[in-house]
């Protein structure tokens, strides 16, 4: 599997810590952020391919964070994570450009598979952008 850079955003510190560690164990570059604002600040310093973003967070919520992220880094793919799951918020997230809307708890194996697919999409889009630019 190709290496890519992942950002995990969730207000539950323990969740972020565990998942970041397990992704690193698998050879991915992973960072965590505990709030939407922290994530946005991190995006100013570092590039990521895929972001896993919790829907419900105190302060700036997942949807608002997603909105800002897509403005800052339109090519970064975002997977929304949700605990309670509402169809309306799923539609909203996808409409704002999220790649997927995943119910918690998601087994790491499944989440990782979604991250790979999201990364594949990013590669296809970059490729397309390059060929467009070359024409």
């Amino acid at each position: 599997m190709e290496k890519f850079r992942v950002l995990i955003v969730d207000d539950e510190g323990e969740f972020v810590e565990t998942i970041v560690k397990r992704l690193r164990d698998r050879g991915l570059e992973a960072e965590g952020a505990l709030s939407g604002q922290e994530a946005l600040d991190l995006l100013d310093e570092q590039e990521f391919d895929v972001c896993v973003l919790d829907y419900r967070m105190p302060g700036m919520d997942g949807i608002e964070t997603l909105r800002h992220m897509k403005k800052k880094k339109p090519r970064m793919e975002v997977i929304m994570l949700t605990g309670h799951g509402s169809v309306e918020s799923g539609i909203q997230g996808l409409q704002l450009g999220a790649y997927n809307y995943v119910m918690k708890p998601a087994p790491l194996k499944d989440l990782l598979h979604q991250m790979e697919l999201a990364y594949e999409r990013k590669l296809i889009e970059e490729e397309r952008f390059k060929t467009l630019g070359a024409e």
């Binding site: 509402s86 169809v87 999220a98 594949e120």
Partner: protein
């Protein structure tokens, strides 16, 4: 066809567009007098916001009525693809224009709301009884601004013709994960979601996030169509290896015959204000057609409604796209 186009004359919409623009520009001006900070100004702001939304909605309805009457006169069936794409392009131009003109003022309003909120926290405002009322009022304005933002966003996604990104999709798997999202809300109304997913379905080359969006829209409509207790059935099957068919069926209120031709039209909604913008199916149809598929509806009023989607398997197209990997 060309005489049809002449009849579908959108020019009558312009005065409304102008009114909307004037309102949109007037709101930030209202807020600009921030030293005039008073409940009155805030209320005025809220009222103009309310009007902007009203006007947007009625513009949509007028455009739709004109289109519909044009269609009736020419006795054209809405199912005529060519005709529909022309309708869509005029609605597209209209919505892209409105969206652009409304978005910027909305951004400014949101900033000013934050600023006023900040002012109400200042020491000189402390202990003033009305300050809390003012903050309540600001929160309501914020909510309405969010609602406008969302409608504008939906309009934009209707207008924007982004080229889909094709990836291999296990349709059954994608459906399962979206049904899980819908299940909790359905269960709250005692609705069961039954899956009848054919095994051995061909892997299709399609755009996963777009497909998810369509499925959630259909599942949401189905859930809303059932008052209490009911069944939604989601099924898949292969059509000769070339297409995959997805059906979402519910035993809810059904769709009256006279509405059937209109449900895919932007802004057609029978749901109460604030519940539906009438863009869900318009967006869904736009997506499915961009993916090279089709979406159809059949309904037995009072009995059931079935939406049928067909997406092409596209096996050759994806190989070309993914060959680089």
């Amino acid at each position: 066809m060309s005489s049809f186009l002449k009849k579908v004359n959108l020019s009558g919409v312009e005065p409304y567009l102008m009114t909307a623009l004037i309102f949109a520009c007037a709101i930030p001006l209202l807020f600009a007098g921030r030293y005039l900070l008073s409940g009155g100004a805030v209320a005025l702001g809220a009222i103009s916001l309310f009007h902007t939304r009203r006007i947007l909605a009625s513009m949509g309805r007028i455009a739709e009525q004109r289109i519909m009457s044009g269609i009736a006169e020419e006795r054209l069936i809405t199912d005529d693809r060519a005709c529909r794409s022309q309708i869509f392009s005029s609605v597209d131009t209209l919505s892209a224009g409105i969206a652009h003109e409304i978005n910027n003022p909305l951004g400014i309003i949101a900033q000013e709301i934050q600023w006023i909120g900040h002012l109400t926290e200042s020491p000189s405002m402390r202990g003033i009884k009305e300050a809390e009322d003012l903050r309540d009022s600001l929160r309501e304005i914020s909510r309405q601004v969010d609602r406008c933002k969302e409608t504008v966003h939906k309009l934009l996604s209707l207008a924007r013709q982004v080229e889909p990104v094709l990836q291999f999709v296990d349709v059954n798997e994608l459906i399962r994960s979206m049904v899980i999202v819908a299940e909790r809300q359905a269960a709250a109304k005692k609705i069961t979601i039954v899956r009848r997913l054919e095994s051995g379905l061909p892997v299709v080359a399609s755009d996963p996030p777009l497909l998810r969006q369509v499925l959630l829209n259909l599942l949401l409509n189905a859930t809303q169509a059932i008052d209490q207790e009911g069944v939604i059935t989601v099924s898949t099957r292969s059509l000769g290896g070339e297409f995959v068919e997805i059906k979402v069926q519910d035993n809810g209120c059904g769709i009256p015959r006279e509405h059937l031709a209109r449900i895919f039209t932007p802004f057609f909604s029978t749901k109460p204000e604030g519940k539906g913008t009438g863009l869900g199916l318009a967006i869904s149809r736009g997506i499915i057609e961009r993916l090279g598929g089709s979406i159809d509806v059949s309904s037995e009023p009072g009995e059931s409604t079935t939406f049928t989607i067909r997406v092409p398997v596209n096996s050759r197209r994806v190989n070309a796209t993914l060959a680089r990997g």
